[in-house]
């Protein structure tokens, strides 16, 4: 497989530490297992799941997805501009990513509060158990993602400690949060 001429040899490298990819692929498998259990269980009681699913607001889910996808775009910008040496621009992108992440966080918590007010809590029924479990464990990953952004900003700030590898490692983590949400969104909000 030969490279197209425009991209240098440098680009053939694994983005970030290869070690982070172990985490990414491992967590992807763990989540796949959660999803498989959920989908299998879903068809056991599809009536209840559909009825409960109707209580969700698809707009929240869609908005969350768009927020995270856009944040991923800015995270990519951040990694690319950092590589090009434009650290100030990269930092701005990192801040925008974090801002979009916070927007997601607020949207998610608002949705939770509305559901709980409506009488749908973690232990209300099986659907909401899965709903709160999956969104909750995903939100935990997002919070860890903020630490990753913090590491990126810390790296970009000091000229002495700039490590492109670490920036890309954290970026890979952030995209994983996005990737998992895309799956969760379609499994909780869209499937019928």
């Amino acid at each position: 497989m030969t490279d197209n001429a425009g991209e240098g040899k440098r680009d053939r490298a694994i983005p970030g530490q290869p070690d982070m990819w172990v985490l990414v692929l491992f967590e992807a498998l763990v989540f796949t297992a959660y999803f498989a259990v959920y989908l299998y269980h879903r068809s056991a009681d599809s009536e209840l799941f559909l009825r409960s699913q109707a209580q969700l607001r698809p707009l929240f889910g869609t908005l969350d997805t768009l927020l995270l996808l856009t944040s991923s775009l800015f995270m990519l910008r951040c990694a690319q501009t950092a590589r090009a040496g434009a650290h100030r621009t990269a930092m701005t992108s990192a801040y925008i990513t974090a801002f979009l992440g916070v927007a997601f966080l607020i949207s998610k918590i608002t949705e939770w509060i509305m559901l709980v007010r409506g009488g749908h809590g973690f232990s209300s029924n099986d659907f909401f158990m899965y709903y709160f479990f999956l969104t909750g464990i995903h939100l935990l990953h997002l919070l860890i993602g903020f630490i990753a952004i913090g590491v990126i900003v810390y790296q970009l700030r000091g000229p002495a400690r700039r490590s492109q590898e670490l920036v890309e490692t954290c970026a890979v983590y952030w995209h994983t949060v996005d990737l998992l949400w895309v799956l969760i969104f379609s499994l909780l909000y869209v499937v019928r």
Binding site: R12, A44, A54, L66, S72, L73, R77, V182, F185, R192
Partner: protein, 97 residues
Amino acid sequence: MNTQPNRRPLIILLILSAITLGYLALDRSADSQGTFRASSVVTTIAILLALVKVRFIFREFMQVRNAPALLCRLTDLWVLIIGAALLGSYFSGLAVH
């Protein structure tokens, strides 16, 4: 740096957003007047579209496109594994119940 590599992610984002919005239309086709109806077709399409998005994220956002072939294959394999597990569990659930 020319503008070429910068426009590409934006296009990807637009595609991904379009798929996301497309979900809403997909659901509308299955539901009748606010009552949700079970539909294997919708479920299958939703899972497949999610996998397409996942592959886009791997390839473009996570820059696997430019990574060594091994990582490309590995992430593709993962998309297949996730797809097989999701569809497999869904349909085996349907078959059992």
